[in-house]
């Protein structure tokens, strides 16, 4: 091959730079536009839910337990906890000290207290708390006065919730929860008659009494999922029972051993990803279950978190649990005098 040919031939065969650069720019532009679209979708999802990225649809249901975030101190032997749906207000009941309900914001800064009316006496024992999703009013069960006190979102006492008829003279309300229609579910640990779950309309009329034949023994926490299925912690029977919206028995969680043991289930909560949380007081842990597709199905065990101790993320006799719409969990850690906040 002649020297001239060596130097001239490649110049003739070299591809045109302009179309190739154009193609490259089109590819880059397409990728960038796709990524911008994804970023917009991600930002919209985040601004709407406030959830961590681990809860992106398709990622958050993999059975991974949540992780410890921080603790809120300054509560005396806390029992119950409730949170406004957006997580802006956290309510925690104290079982010693002032025995009031303390209010915190999402960072754990104290915002005030909920105090029963003066004419209700001085001996109070607030236990479980629920926030009415329709009015944002806060309902607090009181063990010693056998009453449910209602407070506004601003913390002001509004009224004492009383069931209609003579029911209020016999009941001993403990666990409280609302469904999306504003119906109030109350576990009744009355001293005369079988323990039961009461379903009350917003104006206090008894809609249904459930579980009297199920042998409930000191039912504590109660939670209602998006389908209207009610989960009740049947504490002294070491189990959680489910009832459908008509009060018919459905699934049940019974105590197994190891990670699925249920010593003394107390607080229960359901989040908007259909995860059921059960606080096991005796095992110092929180069990997580995936709610079954069938209304009568038994939730499937997913994971547990918590061990006994005083360190961050360890519990000493946890009792109450609440979940907000930002995938945060709030657990009262009674003997460590704190509220723990966990997230995914």
């Amino acid at each position: 091959m002649a020297i001239e040919e060596i130097f001239t031939e490649p110049a003739v065969e070299q591809p045109e730079p302009q179309p190739e650069g154009r193609r490259r720019r089109i590819v880059v532009l397409s990728v960038a536009i796709t990524l911008i679209a994804l970023l917009v979708a991600l930002t919209t999802w985040y601004l709407r839910t406030g959830k961590p990225l681990s809860q992106l649809p398709g990622l958050g249901q993999n059975g991974q337990p949540p992780h410890y975030l921080f603790s809120v101190y300054g509560v005396n032997k806390p029992l119950g906890v409730a949170v406004s749906p957006d997580g802006d207000r956290i309510y925690v009941s104290e079982s010693t000290g002032d025995r009031v309900v303390k209010v915190f914001d999402r960072t754990g800064a104290a915002k005030g207290t909920l105090k029963p009316p003066a004419d209700s006496g001085t001996n109070h024992a607030p236990v479980y708390i629920a926030v009415n999703p329709r009015t944002q009013d806060v309902y607090v069960s009181d063990r010693t006065t056998a009453a449910i006190y209602v407070y506004g979102r601003d913390g002001a006492y509004r009224r004492t919730f009383r069931p209609k008829g003579d029911l209020g003279a016999q009941w001993a309300p403990l666990g409280v929860a609302f469904d999306s229609y504003g119906r109030l579910y109350v576990t009744d640990v009355r001293s005369t008659g079988a323990h039961r779950l009461l379903v009350l309309t917003p104006d206090g009329a008894l809609e249904r009494s459930v579980g009297e034949s199920a042998g409930l023994t000191f039912p504590n926490g109660v939670a209602v999922d998006s389908r209207g299925v009610v989960s009740v912690a049947d504490s002294n029977n070491s189990r959680v029972l489910m009832f459908d919206r008509d009060g018919k028995p459905g699934g049940r969680l019974v105590s197994e051993s190891g990670d699925t043991a249920l010593g003394i289930p107390r607080g229960v909560a359901v989040d908007d990803s259909n995860r059921l949380y059960v606080v096991d007081l005796a095992n110092h842990a929180v069990r997580i279950y995936k709610i079954a597709d069938a209304v009568t199905g038994t939730p499937q065990y997913m994971a547990s978190f918590g061990t006994e101790g005083t360190g961050d993320g360890a519990f000493e006799y946890p009792n109450g649990v609440a979940a907000d719409s930002r995938a945060r969990l709030y657990i009262t850690d009674r003997e460590n005098n704190r509220l723990q906040v966990w997230s995914y």
């Binding site: 110049a11 003739v12 045109e16 302009q18 154009r22 720019r25 089109i26 880059v28 532009l29 960038a32 536009i33 990524l35 911008i36 970023l39 917009v40 991600l42 930002t43 985040y46 601004l47 406030g50 961590p52 990225l53 975030l69 921080f70 603790s71 101190y73 960072t107 754990g108 029977n237 070491s238 189990r239 049940r252 019974v254 105590s255 197994e256 051993s257 190891g258 699925t260 065990y301 005083t310 360190g311 961050d312 460590n336 704190r338 906040v341 997230s343």
Partner: protein, 332 residues
């Protein structure tokens, strides 16, 4: 080449627009990502503040500052330092208490536990012996938890130092006060094996495992050593399988145990398979294995205790039927 030459110095407008569009898109993407990252960070960020232990230390320090001569406050501070993993500060506080009250058992035990944590075995041993020396003839020595603690840790230290006979004596003294202390049974069993008493060692280790059958590998490892000394290969295999189970190799453990259910280690293997099934939430299967074990060995304490715990009466077929009914009440 010639046909492209006219375009070289003059790009078509669409090409320029494309170039600008790419730059804008990349810029939007970068800025958007930064904005999202910042929003996400501040939205998810939490400031936990001091931990519970740090708070306890601060509170105890305040108490001691307010009342320096209050020994209870100083003891609380020493314990808080210990919990906060500040052994030097903890020892200083225990020493302050011991200066004022040389026989303070709480301070002696506290300081001994710090020294033990620092592997100062002889220093810790001297303090524990001081506690046993001053308490062993006390009115409530038979039910004295501090004395039991001292005996237990002396057994542990003696065992670590290879003083098998002394360790046995101390562990037995500890168990006399608290017979259900699985840790003390374990230390006793290990010391007995060390002293050449393998058969007694097996009995002690089985006691330890009766109280804590899962999640604790050490007793199974020691059991394996004891069976080796007793020349019992099937039992060695059983202990090895249980170590597998303990170390989360459950399938392997089950396979090894299944091979043993017809040999001399059958009862152990059945109890092991029962434990694995129970831990996996298969209560009915677990009960079935425990029943097989108790049929083969009606006086086996582990089988009796385990079935009783599950609400099953282990003695007669009638009792078994009643037990099964009982188990259904609890939903098993």
């Amino acid at each position: 080449m010639l046909r492209m030459t006219p375009n070289r110095g003059k790009r078509p407008p669409s090409d320029r627009a494309l170039r600008i569009a790419v730059r804008v898109a990349v810029g939007v993407l970068v800025l958007g990502s930064v904005a999202f990252g910042t929003t996400y960070y501040f939205g998810q960020r939490t400031d936990g503040g001091p931990t519970l232990v740090q708070r306890q230390v601060s509170a105890a320090e305040q108490q001691v500052r307010a009342k320096p001569n209050n020994l209870s406050a100083r003891l609380a501070l020493a314990q808080a330092y210990q919990a906060a993993k500040r052994p030097g500060d903890a020892v200083s506080q225990y020493d302050e208490i011991l200066k004022a009250v040389p026989d303070s058992r709480a301070a002696l035990l506290g300081k001994a536990s710090v020294l033990l944590g620092k592997d100062d075995l002889s220093g810790a041993s001297a303090l524990y012996r001081k506690v046993t020396g001053m308490s062993v003839k006390g009115e409530f020595a038979g039910a004295d938890p501090q004395l039991q603690e001292a005996h237990y840790f002396l057994a542990l230290i003696d065992s670590k130092q290879g003083k098998a006979q002394e360790a046995i004596t101390e562990a037995q003294a500890s168990l006399k006060i608290e017979p259900t202390d699985s840790d003390a049974w374990y230390v006793l069993g290990s010391a007995q094996i060390l002293a050449g008493q393998a058969q007694q060692g097996v009995i002690s280790l089985r006691r330890a495992l009766m109280f804590v059958p899962t999640g604790w590998c050490d007793p199974y490892v020691e059991l394996g050593k004891a069976f080796q000394k007793l020349n019992k290969p099937e039992e060695v295999e059983y202990a090895g399988a249980m170590v597998d189970f303990c170390q989360k190799r459950t399938g392997q453990a089950q396979q090894r145990l299944q091979k043993l259910v017809s040999g001399p280690a059958a009862v152990d293997a059945e109890l092991g398979l029962g434990t694995i099934a129970e831990t996996g939430g298969r209560t009915d299967e677990a009960i079935s294995w425990y029943r097989k074990a108790i049929t083969a060995d009606p006086t086996n304490p582990t089988a009796i205790q385990t079935l009783s715990r599950l609400g099953i009466a282990p003695t007669t077929p009638a009792g078994q039927a009643a037990g099964a009914a009982g188990s259904s009440v609890t939903g098993s």
